[in-house]
């Protein structure tokens, strides 16, 4: 149980880091597109 629980904890951390990084990239792209319009 303990290994799975720790894996879950690390997945939450790295998963949210990936999501936040992706959201930053998408937001930058959206603003750039609006500037070009």
């Amino acid at each position: 149980m303990s290994d799975g629980w720790v894996v879950f904890g690390y997945s939450v951390v790295y998963g949210f880091m990936i999501l936040y990084a992706a959201s930053l990239v998408m937001r930058i792209r959206r603003v750039k597109r609006r500037m070009e319009e």
Partner: protein, 244 residues
């Protein structure tokens, strides 16, 4: 900052995270908590980075109030958002660790948990405040003041475990009477360095986004002004006479 530098910093942060993960997973299980203690290697750096981020928000706001240079407002805003992100991580990992070790995800009477949750919501409020004010100077001034005042929570959260009786454990790393095992300390410090690099990478991307948003706001303001101006015609006496 050049595009290549953003990428280089991001790649370095990812490599550092991988090294941190290796260190964290290769330490032996803790004597009492077993494998669960390994969650500390991501929980503690998240909380410390949140403190650092809110410190940067305070300093950025204070410098903006003195110099009125837009970059400091952007730095303050970017750091607040990244700080909220790290606070959320600290809360989530704390809950994930708390359930198997304490038997509960959350304790409403615990000073550390409650003060961290309040800090999280205050900085979410800071971000909401920024979105609610259209004028850039008013927005920067009000958020700078809030950023400075809100920072008082950081020492309160940090010392909550010594000021109050809490379920949350007291300071572990800075404790000369019961020093942390060197192997655990090494893994913690490597992960702290990795999380700091991730913070730096997030900050560069988020500050860049803030600069682009400011430029867009400026462009749209000029376009709106021109549109309003074209709707107003010069007064003509001749046309007025024709109407009569």
């Amino acid at each position: 900052m050049k595009q290549g530098s953003y990428r280089a910093l991001s790649v370095t942060a990812i490599v550092a995270l991988a090294v941190g993960f290796t260190f964290a997973t290769t330490v032996p299980p803790e004597r009492v908590q077993g494998e669960f203690a390994k969650i500390m290697f991501v929980h503690v750096p998240s909380a410390w980075l949140a403190f650092l981020a809110f410190g940067v928000t305070m300093v950025g706001g204070a410098i903006w109030l003195v110099t009125k240079t837009p970059i400091w407002d952007r730095v303050a805003a970017a750091s607040a958002e990244v700080g909220v992100f790290y606070t959320a991580l600290a809360l989530l990992t704390g809950m994930i660790w708390g359930y198997p070790v304490w038997g509960t995800f959350w304790d409403w009477s615990d000073a550390r948990m409650m003060s961290t949750a309040i800090m999280f919501f205050v900085y979410v409020g800071y971000l909401a405040l920024r979105r609610s004010i259209p004028d850039p100077e008013t927005r920067a001034r009000r958020s700078a003041i809030l950023g400075i005042v809100a920072f008082i929570q950081v020492p309160l959260v940090y010392f909550s475990v010594t000021l109050f009786r809490t379920l949350h454990q007291g300071p572990t790393v800075v404790r000369p009477d019961a020093p942390i095992d060197p192997e655990f300390l090494r893994a913690l410090m490597v992960n702290l360095a990795a999380f700091t690099l991730v913070y730096a990478a997030f900050m560069t991307w988020r500050t860049r986004l803030a600069r682009l948003e400011d430029e867009l706001e400026e462009t749209e303001a000029i376009a709106d002004f021109e549109l309003a101006g074209s709707g107003i015609t010069a007064p003509s006496v001749e046309e007025a006479r024709e109407d009569v």
